[in-house]
């Protein structure tokens, strides 16, 4: 794999997870608010289907980010911990992304659970 492609994979691995979760979180917050808001209840927001769509797209992107992190990690396995950039930097970010994306996969799943529980009652 060329260095350019590896760089692209590294940045995707590092940045996709957080931003996909953020997108899912904001959209589902808006979705649940619209669904549960009395004045606009006539909109009949299809909470379940939209939640499935959002979670599928965002979740897939985060899983892909984890795979990308793994690819970069393998490609830089011979690189020293404090090697100079770009190889040392790519290895560093790949290791960080391997951890981070696991976390984001779990948060995306938990957020989806929260949105699937579309109860509008006050707790």
């Amino acid at each position: 794999m060329t260095r350019f492609r590896l760089e692209l994979l590294q940045w995707y691995a590092l940045l996709a997870g957080p931003w996909m979760w953020a997108t899912q979180h904001v959209l589902e917050f808006g979705l649940t608010n619209s669904h549960c808001s009395m004045p606009v209840s006539y909109w009949h927001v299809p909470v379940i289907w939209l939640n499935v769509l959002i979670t599928t797209v965002c979740g897939t992107a985060v899983v892909a980010a984890e795979l990308a992190a793994f690819v970069v990690f393998r490609a830089t396995s011979d690189t020293g911990k404090y090697a100079p950039g770009p190889w040392g930097r790519m290895k560093f970010f790949a290791e960080a992304a391997l951890l981070g994306n696991v976390l984001f996969i779990v948060i995306v799943a938990l957020d989806a659970a929260g949105a699937f529980y579309h109860g509008c009652n006050q707790a």
């Binding site: 808006g30 608010n33 619209s34 808001s37 004045p39 606009v40 909109w43």
Partner: protein, 196 residues
């Protein structure tokens, strides 16, 4: 390195510090606008009728044409930067002046319409007019700030180009691209009552 000997300045390979500072400032302002949009839609969800009964929906044609004109100044700012980078001071100055005139004209027209809107539907009447007018006012303030930057550049480029002034132009061009994108989104949010 004098202008007669060089065809361009060496600004380094990486983006300058001033450009990064502008990107970060714009990131903060983008968050401000995202909060404004979130407030708009949050308040919208509290109301069955939006705008409230008796209040007209915002006009579509004139604001859209004005916004298109403002967005076009991104092209002028980018041309100004390109010419500046090639040390074509006069050409850069012309593009800056064109951008400044359109930006100024946009703001004057918008302020006139804004004052009109405040008289027709004062912000003290409803949450709709409060958020609608606040959102527009904050956008106009950012356009005003951009005009100040354009005016400053016109003043500095009137005498000579230096690497410092080039970096200022680069950062200002970025600012205008960002403000123009934000203004388009403000327009779309403002016109959202026309949808559904």
């Amino acid at each position: 390195m004098t202008t007669s000997a060089a065809t361009t300045y060496d600004l380094g390979h990486a983006r300058p510090n001033g450009w990064w500072a502008m990107v970060l400032f714009v990131a903060g302002e983008t968050t401000l606008f995202l909060m404004l949009f979130a407030t708009y839609f949050y308040l919208r969800l509290q109301s069955r009728h939006w705008p409230p009964p008796g209040v007209d929906k915002p006009a579509v044609l004139v604001p859209s044409l004005l916004t298109a004109a403002l967005v076009a100044t991104s092209f002028a700012m980018q041309r100004a930067w390109r010419n500046g980078r090639l040390l074509n001071r006069v050409a850069a100055l012309r593009w800056l002046a064109l951008a400044g005139i359109v930006q100024g004209g946009y703001l004057i027209w918008q302020v006139h319409d804004f004052v009109d809107a405040c008289h027709k539907e004062p912000p003290s009447h409803s949450a709709y007019s409060s958020i609608h007018l606040t959102m527009l006012a904050i956008d106009h303030l950012h356009v005003f700030l951009g005009i100040l930057l354009t005016a400053w550049l016109l003043m500095r480029f009137a005498t000579r180009i230096t690497p410092y002034r080039l970096r200022t132009l680069q950062a200002t061009a970025f600012y205008w691209h960002a403000v123009n994108v934000i203004t388009v989104v403000v327009l779309l949010v403002d016109l959202s009552p026309h949808v559904g």
